[in-house]
């Protein structure tokens, strides 16, 4: 198997997994929605700060 075929196979598998788990199965109660939203905000801010730090370090 060549490197290109292997990479293509891996990416195809990643795509297949992404499609398989596209829809979250957890019951979207208000608590779940709030928790996931808060988590997104938290990570967005933290990743933003990491990026800022990285840029200012350059």
């Amino acid at each position: 198997m060549t490197e290109t075929t292997r990479k293509a196979g891996f990416l195809a598998k990643v795509g297949e997994i992404t499609r398989k788990y596209k829809t979250p199965r957890i019951k979207a109660t208000p608590a779940v929605k709030v928790a996931l939203l808060a988590l997104r905000v938290y990570l967005f801010v933290l990743v933003g700060l990491l990026a800022y730090k990285f840029v200012t370090l350059l």
């Binding site: 398989k20 199965r25 957890i26 019951k27 996931l36 988590l39 700060l49």
Partner: protein, 428 residues
């Protein structure tokens, strides 16, 4: 029934329960003891050297915290028969799934490097060159998994867990002043006030006691071992014993360095071992052996946590009960992580300090996410069923733990990224 018969049947019942427990025991003890990895030993050594016995009370608190978090993974694994990575993909979708697994693999790889740093430094004390240490460790870890038997791997790992108790005789050998330990270590206190330095050590101790890889590892381990709902009770006892052991070892490490090195700046556990060897050769050597064992235990569990997670999501065979030929993807990833991490440590001038700092920051980003996912999964009746989902009391306790950890983790990440943010004035 007469008294001898009652004693006989009581003994037989106890013996049966013990046998059943011993069959189930393993994942909890291993994950908790492996939690005292090379980074953990460095943290406890530095804590003792910096603050003496004064922060022992904090570790006593961390024991139950670690238990409550890890106990949830036992239930989740036993009920769903799925590892944590697969459970996240299934419940929260591919976005959170890829985020979690990407962060996990990155953090695990960087942590694995720190384990190799610890192991090479520990054996370096005995004159073993780093290259030989890396080769020996990879060969040993390969030998442990090639048998294709979870049981064999687990029993061998439990032997290394037992070796982690080496710090207990070391603490007795330094002859600490027990009344001083009891008077200064048990009552909550912050010597010198709650300064930035104190906050750093508090967070480092939390970070070494509760780590994202532990959640992934224990759940996958429970599934690989084949634990069922009926085994949850024994799984809880297993986790409780592990939590007790990890705190006990941490306290004894602090006792050793607080007795021998109080007031000296200690940067890592290997430096602590060398410094102690100047006063007491045997204790210093025991500390070095303990550091090697801790790094090895950490490496064993961390490399498996990633391999299990990838195997679950990619649908590869991912069990230690499979031979290398039967689960090539699982073992290739296991060895790739090991060889990669070992090789980086051998690169002359590799930025090992920067890597160590990065581990802390990246682990912080995954920890709140991993804890929130765990809490939500344990409350979903469609996943856990009414019998095994969190009770109200468990939710209250775990929610408090999660909120406190998220707040502290955020402050810690900010302080790591912007050191001057909290350092001005010295106090928070």
């Amino acid at each position: 029934m007469n008294v001898p018969a009652r004693i006989f049947y009581g003994f037989r019942r106890m013996s049966k329960s013990l046998r059943l427990f011993l069959m189930v025991a393993g994942p909890g003890i291993i994950v908790m003891v492996a939690d005292n990895d090379a980074g953990g030993i460095t943290t406890y050594s530095a804590t003792g050297a910096q603050f003496g016995y004064n922060l022992i009370w904090f570790l006593v608190i961390l024991g139950p915290v670690a238990y409550f978090v890890q106990e949830m993974t036992v239930r989740l694994g036993a009920v769903t028969k799925r590892g944590h990575a697969e459970a996240i993909f299934d419940a929260f979708g591919s976005f959170w799934g890829w985020f979690s697994i990407g962060d996990l693999v990155l953090t695990d790889f960087l942590t694995l490097i720190t384990e190799f740093i610890g192991m090479t430094a520990a054996l370096g004390i005995f004159g073993v060159p780093p290259l030989l240490t890396v080769v020996l460790v990879i060969a040993l870890m390969g030998a442990m998994v090639v048998s294709g038997s979870y049981w064999t791997w687990e029993k061998l790992t439990l032997l290394f867990c037992a070796a982690n108790l080496i710090y207990i005789p070391a603490a007795f050998l330094v002859k600490p002043d027990v009344p001083t330990i009891l008077s200064t270590g048990i009552i909550p206190n912050f010597p010198g006030g709650f300064t930035y330095n104190m906050f750093f050590f508090i967070m480092a101790n939390i970070g070494t006691t509760i780590a994202p890889w532990m959640i992934f590892f224990q759940q996958s381990s429970v599934v690989d071992k084949g634990l069922q709902e009926k085994d949850i009770k024994s799984g809880r006892v297993d986790t409780l014993i592990g939590a007790f052991a990890t705190v006990l070892v941490a306290i004894f490490i602090i006792i050793v360095t607080a007795t021998e090195l109080h007031g000296q700046p200690i940067e890592d556990a290997a430096t602590a071992s060398i410094a102690i060897m100047k006063h007491d050769l045997l204790v210093g050597r025991l500390m070095a052996i303990g550091l090697f064992d801790a790094g090895l235990l950490g490496a064993i569990c961390i490399s498996l946590a990633s391999s299990w997670a990838f195997g679950e999501v990619f649908g590869w065979a991912h069990s230690l009960n499979r031979k290398v030929k039967e689960a090539p993807g699982f073992y290739v990833l296991y060895f790739t992580l090991l060889v990669g991490a070992g090789a980086i440590v051998l690169i002359p001038g590799a930025p090992l300090v920067l890597i160590t700092l990065f581990v802390q920051v990246i682990a912080v980003t995954l920890l709140p996410a991993a804890l929130v996912f765990l809490l939500l999964l344990l409350n979903d009746e469609s996943v856990m069923g009414a019998k095994y989902k969190n009770t109200r009391l468990q939710n209250i306790i775990v929610t408090i733990i999660v909120v406190v950890i998220i707040v502290l983790s955020t402050l810690y990440a900010l302080s790591a990224l912007f050191p001057n943010l909290f350092a001005q004035g010295g106090a928070l």
